[in-house]
């Protein structure tokens, strides 16, 4: 597959690089690797990867900083790998432009699922179009939502929240990004608005609001809208 754009894997742990390279190659991807943040930025520029799997702990610079610099010139999907119990770091990486995260220790299956979702997202354009999940169709241009063919009545704020998530299917949006987008800058700390509106959206669009399949909670971080065939995480 010489014409295929590779996946760039950044980690300073040789054993992890070896294992991931083997697993990703077995799954049909071409892999390039980097062991430092500087090396990652260089490889991203030279090899034009289709996606980046980026460990946030690197010897030479903060992974969040790598995200930020990468975003200055590239829209490549970035999945960050972070240690357990480091929600603040995940939030910082997502706010710096990362698309998704997995928490160490993660299974290769989980990473592959995230990678597939990120690559598909990058190849699709949803702006102004339709987003489907379950029996729900969101028409972003007309501002309509249908469930099972029937029009669902959403208040303007409910629709804005759904639309913010639907414009980036699969991508984790932090609490502060959602509050800023839907309610405005002054509302960044007011997470209870999000909780209440999310509960209302789930009651209107999910079969079981306590076991959502599409409007998913990322505890302590934010929310994501997951279309049907993307595994939950």
């Amino acid at each position: 597959m010489s014409g295929q754009r590779p996946v760039l894997v950044v980690d300073d742990e040789p054993l992890i690089l070896r294992g991931l390279t083997a697993s990703l190659t077995a799954a049909g991807y071409t892999v390039v690797t980097a062991v430092t943040g500087g090396g990652a930025l260089e490889a991203a520029a030279l090899r034009q990867p289709a996606a980046v799997v980026l460990d946030l702990r690197l010897p030479d610079m903060d992974g969040v900083e790598v995200c930020r610099r990468l975003r200055e010139w590239s829209e490549v999907p970035v999945i960050v790998v972070s240690a357990i119990a480091s929600e603040a770091q995940k939030i910082a990486a997502l706010d710096a432009g990362a698309d998704d995260y997995v928490t160490k220790p993660y299974s290769v299956g989980e990473l592959l699922a995230r990678l597939r979702a990120a690559l598909r997202r990058a190849s699709e354009t949803t702006a102004g179009g339709e987003v489907r999940f379950g029996d729900v169709v969101v028409d972003l241009a007309l501002g309509h939502v249908h469930r099972d063919g029937a029009l669902v009545h959403l208040t303007p704020l409910e629709f804005d929240l759904l639309a913010a998530l639907a414009r980036h299917p699969g991508k984790v949006l932090t609490h502060s990004i959602l509050l800023r987008t839907v309610w405005g800058l002054a509302y960044q700390g007011e997470t209870h608005y999000l909780r209440v509106y999310m509960a209302r959206l789930r009651r209107k669009l999910e079969p079981d609001p306590s076991r959502p399949r599409h409007l998913l909670t990322q505890s302590g971080v934010g929310y994501r809208l997951v279309p049907d065939d993307t595994p939950a995480g």
Partner: protein
């Protein structure tokens, strides 16, 4: 720590033991010698300091004296003018804080406060107030210097005792912890080592796949034990602190079930939440961790189906995880939440004690209850706060 704040006013009865002296000459020397003798006496620190104050007060005509230390200030009601004592103690606190001698005036009183300095530490200050004459600064400073080692030695002794006790407690804790977790770490490790060795000799493709799967499963078990241990040590060290946020119980349940997806793996789960979700204050990450642990216990030790319910109970919300298994054995029940008690063959291990502490860290509690189903029922109870202002 003993309080040694004392204020002793004039008049005090003259004692032949100490030579009361006007400032200067032999009177000073006699006072210092008497002070040294008092401070070296075989008596509790408080008694020695009281004797010293009485002595100091006698060295000045119409004087009052006192000592402050350890941040506490209270004085004898018989200390005469309360405003004088307050002013003198304020000067003494400043002297103790800055480590320098302070002078103050209160009406026609002159106050002098000298820090109790011993090597590199200051443990309070000695103050003297006099109305009739200037306070003898040299003498007060000298006496403070004599009193300081006695105070410092006593404080260091108390501090060392406290440190020794804390060390002893944490040592005992570590020992029981080590006993408790060794088994939980060793058995998956042994499984991984065996499977890896077998991979080196077995040729059959299907068997090799099976071994690789076993290694993955045991690694996940190990990860759970290690992440619980990590949480516990972070709780112990005060590193793990709850990040409280507004939450709905249905979202906590949803996130817990989602995170426990691999553990549940097809086990039937039913849920029950109030139609009108109440807003509560919780740390969503810690709550998710608790629910994953409870669900893991229900899968490993209980029998399906698993039922997860959130119910409003007065001014609280109860989130319960219950199963249809044999339940917790009555013999084991009293100790399930006790930290680090290793239950041979039961294997609940660290999960429940950790969960209880994670609950307490966010102002909630974890209880064992009689549930709707036959088996175990563990309930996370959150207090319901006054609701926040609503978005419109």
């Amino acid at each position: 720590m003993p309080g040694y704040d004392r204020a002793m006013p004039r008049p005090s009865p003259p004692t032949p033991a100490a030579e009361p002296g006007a400032p200067g000459g032999d009177g000073r020397l006699a006072t210092i010698l008497a002070a040294v003798k008092l401070l070296e006496a075989d008596a509790p620190l408080d008694a020695r300091l009281e004797a010293l104050i009485a002595l100091v007060a006698r060295t000045h005509p119409s004087a009052a004296a006192g000592i402050v230390g350890d941040g506490r200030r209270h004085h004898d009601p018989g200390a005469g003018d309360a405003t004088l004592v307050a002013a003198a103690e304020a000067a003494a606190v400043t002297a103790a804080r800055t480590g320098t001698t302070r002078r103050a005036r209160h009406g026609d009183w002159t106050v002098l406060a000298a820090p109790l300095r011993c090597r590199d530490r200051v443990d309070g200050a000695l103050w003297v107030a006099d109305r009739a004459a200037e306070v003898d600064e040299w003498l007060v400073t000298e006496l403070a210097g004599r009193a300081a080692p006695a105070v410092a030695t006593e404080l260091q002794r108390v501090e060392q005792l406290e440190q020794a006790e804390a060390l002893h407690r944490s040592d005992a804790l570590k020992t029981t912890l080590l006993h408790g977790v060794t088994h939980e770490l060793l058995s998956p490790l042994a499984g991984i080592a065996n499977a890896a060795e077998a991979l080196g000799v077995i040729q059959d493709h299907d068997e090799r796949r099976e071994l690789a799967r076993a290694i993955t499963a045991e690694t996940q078990r190990l990860e759970r034990v290690v992440s619980n241990l990590l949480d516990l040590s972070r709780l112990e060290g005060g590193v793990l602190q709850a990040r409280m946020d507004w939450c709905t119980p249905e979202e906590l349940i949803g996130a817990g079930l989602q995170a426990a997806g691999a553990i549940l793996d097809g086990v039937p789960v039913t849920t029950e939440v109030p139609d009108d979700p109440p807003l509560l204050r919780a740390d969503p990450v810690l709550s998710e961790r608790i629910l994953v642990n409870l669900l893991n216990n229900a899968v490993r030790h209980g029998t399906p189906p698993i039922h997860v319910a959130a119910r409003r109970e007065g001014d609280e919300v109860a989130v319960s995880v219950m199963d249809d298994g044999p339940g917790v054995h009555p013999d084991v029940l009293p100790s399930v939440f006790e930290p680090f008690i290793h239950r041979e063959g039961v294997g609940l291990g660290l999960g429940l004690p950790l969960c209880r502490r994670l609950a307490e860290a966010q102002g909630a509690r974890l209880e064992h209850r009689a549930g709707d189903l036959a088996g175990a029922c563990f309930t996370l109870v959150f207090p319901l706060p006054a609701p926040p202002a609503q978005a419109t």
